[in-house]
């Protein structure tokens, strides 16, 4: 955490710059924040006023972040995507718990048919939350599981269908094509599906998160972000650049490994943590 001295000066600006950079806010966004601060503050100004100014500048950059999407369709289909290991499967467990606590009927579809024990892992989450569960043979077509999950959700009167996908690096064309096929298959069943495409981003990830957001958005039309692992020391500052450049809101944050460890994204809490 950065300690700011009493008055606004070049040292203060440097301390501020360090706080922004070490939060993974990135070069371009940090420079525009510092630029705003230079423009709107004066030398010798009280540091608490400057802090408030920085706070306001960053909050205004997060103006496109908002709560969860209204669930209007039935079933409301949520496709969960993202690179390897950043928390998709665990997030689905948390989302199932979240929606079931609201009294919704939830069905989970195991469309990661590739990774070792991915289906078993997700099945455990379905058991822990009491959600319905659809799976197929390992190495079967993920799009077919997505299809079956939708159909089963419809038949069983599910309010929410959560579809888990295999982690994949966004620079792998064949894997991104596979993801795009899952969306296409869902669209054939229902032109509005998937109603939500949640990109899970790991809060410890650096600037690569921006290219992840761009590439996954190009392939699957990301409608929301879940920022996982915010219970660590990473601040997830690259979210600000993503919000600015791409208009994608952060829906939830992950703050642990249990089913309760999911919260709605609160931009104020997020920005405050950058200065802690």
């Amino acid at each position: 955490s950065i300690v700011f001295s009493g008055k606004m000066d070049e040292d203060t600006l440097e301390a501020l710059e360090e706080a922004l950079y070490t939060s993974d806010i990135g070069v371009k966004t940090t420079e525009s924040i510092i630029g705003e601060v230079r423009k709107r503050s004066s030398k010798g100004e009280d540091i608490n006023d400057v802090k408030k100014l920085v706070y306001d500048v960053i909050i205004s950059m997060l103006d496109k972040s908002s709560g969860p999407v209204q669930v209007t369709a039935k079933p409301h289909v949520i496709l969960v995507v993202g690179v390897n290991g950043n928390g998709k499967t665990t997030t689905i467990g948390k989302l199932a718990h979240y929606y079931m606590n609201m009294g919704k009927r939830v069905l989970i579809g195991a469309a990661d048919t590739f990774r070792a024990a991915a289906i078993e892992q997700l099945e455990e989450w379905a058991k822990r939350t009491g959600a319905d569960f659809i799976k197929n043979q390992p190495n079967s077509d993920p799009a077919a599981v997505a299809y079956d999950s939708y159909k089963a959700g419809e038949a069983r009167g599910a309010d929410i269908v959560l579809i888990d996908t295999a982690g994949r690096l966004h620079n792998k064309v064949n894997l991104m094509n596979e993801l795009e096929k899952i969306s296409r298959v869902l669209k054939k069943l229902n032109p509005d599906a998937p109603h939500e495409v949640l990109l899970v981003l790991d809060a410890t990830t650096g600037q690569n998160a921006l290219s992840q957001a761009k590439q996954f958005s190009r392939t699957s039309g990301v409608t929301g972000i879940v920022l996982s692992k915010l219970d660590g020391t990473a601040k997830g500052g690259v979210t600000i650049a993503i919000n600015q450049e791409m208009d994608i809101p952060v829906r939830f944050i992950g703050i642990g490994e249990k089913k309760e460890d999911l919260q709605l994204f609160d931009p104020e809490v997020f920005v405050r943590s950058i200065f802690e």
Binding site: V27, G85, A117, G206, K229, T233
Partner: protein
């Protein structure tokens, strides 16, 4: 790209045919941006730039290179110097089983690389590896390692116990009976700030005395790399680093931060999800990647 940027900087500055204080200052600003965008830690970048500046100012320009090319050369050399060094070899015991303990943050690739290492050493040294399922927390973690073990035809030790240290002790006993000469402990991902979980690893280390502790780090990690690596190193004094998911397109600057802050060598890189996608670390390749 950085070399292009530096070339154009030197073209527009006076005295472009030699290195001067002014054109070093401007070009190092570009290098600083490149390193920050590559996820090198802010403080590490500061120190790095200062070292390169000192060298550049002191250097006589004999070479047939333009000043821009020379700056790039210094940066590249300094990167390779820092990234390399330290032995990339894993301490294989002669006449006794070797124990490797994997550790790291959640989702970094420990389980996958436990299997990759087992397969790698079986090929390279004709080892008889045993993998140990010491992650008793993550749903289906044991299943995951067992599945990988089946794919490779490498045995996996697991037991239905609530104490990780006991599991590891029993695994070593099993390895003796089973004549396994390489034992790799797959542990649960954990936060460096989770005192209880870090203490679990400290207890395993004290009881088992692994010959090699490998910190498994995701190559796309950002500024937080220094905090996590420093803490894991402080608590466990690990022997080396495995940098995973290098088949992605992150610049991998965190590797420089980890190396600077812990002084420990990067031993392997993971280059894919398949179990043969592991390579010995090449500092030169990563240096080029970090510079973009």
């Amino acid at each position: 790209d950085l070399s292009g940027k530096l070339e154009s900087i030197f073209k527009t500055l006076k005295g472009q045919h030699r290195i001067s204080e002014e054109n070093i200052k401007v070009s190092l600003r570009e290098v600083r941006v490149a390193l920050l965008e590559a996820d090198v830690n802010y403080i590490v970048v500061k120190d790095f730039i200062n070292r390169v500046r000192d060298r550049a100012i002191g250097e006589k320009v004999f070479e047939k290179l333009t000043p821009g090319q020379l700056i790039i050369k210094f940066i590249h050399e300094e990167l390779v110097r820092v990234l390399g060094g330290g032995t990339a070899e894993v301490a294989m015991q002669k006449g006794a089983p070797t124990v490797i303990m994997m550790c790291g943050l959640q989702g970094s690739g420990k389980t996958t690389h436990t299997a990759k290492l087992a397969s790698y050493f079986r090929k390279k040294n004709k080892s008889r590896p045993l993998m140990v399922a010491a992650d008793i927390y993550r749903p289906a973690a044991i299943d995951q390692l067992k599945t990988l073990g089946k794919q490779l035809n490498i045995p996996v030790y697991s037991e239905d116990s609530k104490d990780v240290t006991t599991i590891c002790v029993n695994a070593l006993e099993f390895a003796k009976e089973n004549r396994n000469d390489l034992i790799i402990l797959d542990t649960a991902g954990r936060l460096h700030i989770d005192e209880e979980m870090m203490n679990e690893l400290i207890r395993v280390k004290e009881k088992i005395q692994p010959h090699e502790i490998l910190f498994v780090a995701d190559s796309m990690i950002g500024q937080d790399a220094v905090t996590t690596a420093a803490e894991f190193n402080e608590k466990l004094n690990f022997d080396g680093v495995i940098l995973t998911k290098m088949d992605g397109d992150s610049r991998g600057g965190a590797a420089l931060s980890i190396r600077e802050v812990t002084g420990k060598p990067i031993k392997f890189v993971g280059t894919g999800e398949k179990l043969d996608e592991i390579e010995v670390f090449h500092p030169d390749r990563l240096a080029q990647r970090i510079l973009g």
